[in-house]
Assembly symmetry: C2
Homo-oligomer: 280 residues x 2
């Protein structure tokens, strides 16, 4: 193992959602040091212009690079869609991973009949990054996109299951999954639901109840973690160690709020003193 | 009527919520020209630091002042809490009105038994501006604050009534209004609900169903409009005219989204070409 393999992996998100990627990565590669930066002062990115998102993302990524990471993970759909090519060019040869490609690839592999539903924020659906990534890999796929705006605040509030959450999910997705013949008469009923927002894995149980047990749910956090492990293996940067990895959390605003909401995403208590404030 | 009375009233908000104040004002003073500026590029203000909020608010207010307004209305709870004194000092003798005082005053007048529940965003509740304003006016008042985070995205999504909305409201407020004896054994059951967020008047019908018909709901948008009319009268700046006022909408980001969500708030179709983009 070379020295570079000992460095941490840097994850970046506009806020908290990327912590689902963090959690999936910590489960898959427990020996890796992880450095998470949430740019909470400037969230949400989803409603901002492309140039602004690229500028913010470059700044945050530079901060992680200056701290000496061996890989950059853009754990944010909006930032991935807008800034991934720019980041790869700017920081080459540092490996830079996004969340869109792994999710899209996993969905195309999972779906049998080729009808994939992508749910995400309004900005991600309107931008079409998942739709494009899926049809690039599988040109015959039918992709139905649906913005599920309320899922983000629901997850941040920690309301993850129960009749209310399912009721909201049914209002967004009922026509697609419960009466697909009426909504899309010329397409087969969708067999795959791709969670195209890093917040949504928190609602997975409720979503499964609404779309039915036969529909496969593809969680882009889990698939991204898998792709990260493969890429680290490929470039010989996997850490082989017996000791558990060290975790560092950085935020650009309000460490108390980060700790509170972060605890929901990580599924464990995050103490405010584990979170440091940085100024970008 | 002097020339100054012919100038427009300038309303400012971090986003769309202030449009409920706009609508209430247009109903009360239909002959006034109204100029609305929503700083959507930098919302939400609620999670930002006080100095940042003051800086943003000063910049937006300056833009309205440069356009020649006769009065500034801060149609945003967060900006009112953080920046009202600074704005009044900076732009004196221009009249500057906020939303907190009118709402607090109306609630203290409405409540018979003095137990007032304020609902607002997390930032507003944590900041305590309403709680302070109410007890300043009525020192014996009991004020219960409750952050209702999901109400903002619900209103922006246009989900304003029905069992889902009432279910969410019941989850936030059920313990206070339905079992007050258990929750607060030493206080009388609250008789007044103050909507301390400019988004919340959209949910008023659903909220009334949840809290019960006996509870008075005080809408700070309506009470602010009433106070504005009184203040304009006092300083001799009321416009007396037979022609309906002209309305101008300015936003710092995404005119299409402003028009779409704005239509929900105004209760009428707002065309994208009625909205202009400004750079602050």
């Amino acid at each position: 193992m070379n020295d570079a393999a000992l460095k941490p992996i840097g994850l970046f998100d506009s806020g908290m959602g990327g912590l689902t990627v963090f959690k999936a990565l910590a489960q898959r590669l427990p020996e890796e040091d992880l450095l998470y930066l949430g740019d909470t002062a400037r969230l949400p990115y989803g409603t901002k212009g492309r140039d602004t998102i690229i500028r913010y993302t470059l700044k945050a990524a530079q901060h992680l690079v200056d701290l000496g990471v061996k890989m950059l993970v853009v754990a944010c759909n909006t930032a991935t869609s807008a800034a991934l090519p720019t980041l790869r060019e700017h920081f080459a040869p540092l490996p830079v991973m996004g969340v869109v490609e792994p999710g899209a690839r996993a969905a195309t592999t999972t779906s049998r009949n080729g009808h994939i539903v992508v749910i995400a924020t309004e900005a991600t659906i309107t931008g079409g990054a998942y739709q494009q990534a899926i049809t690039r890999i599988r040109p015959d796929a039918i992709v139905t996109g649906r913005a599920c705006t309320l899922f983000v605040p629901l997850a941040e509030e920690g309301w993850m299951d129960g009749p209310l959450v399912e009721g909201i999910a049914r209002r967004y997705l009922g026509d697609i999954f419960n009466t697909p013949g009426q909504t899309m008469p010329h397409a087969p009923a969708p067999d795959t639901l791709l969670l195209g927002c890093t917040h949504f894995p928190l609602l997975q149980g409720a979503l499964q109840n609404v779309v039915g047990a036969k529909v496969h749910i593809v969680d882009s956090a889990a698939t991204t973690a898998k792709d990260i492990a493969q890429e680290l293996q490929r470039v010989h940067l996997l850490r082989h160690n017996d000791t558990p990895g060290k975790y560092t959390f950085l935020t650009t605003d309000n460490t108390a709020r980060f700790a509170k909401t972060g605890s929901i995403f990580l599924g464990r208590h995050l103490n405010e003193n584990e979170v440091s404030l940085v100024d970008l």
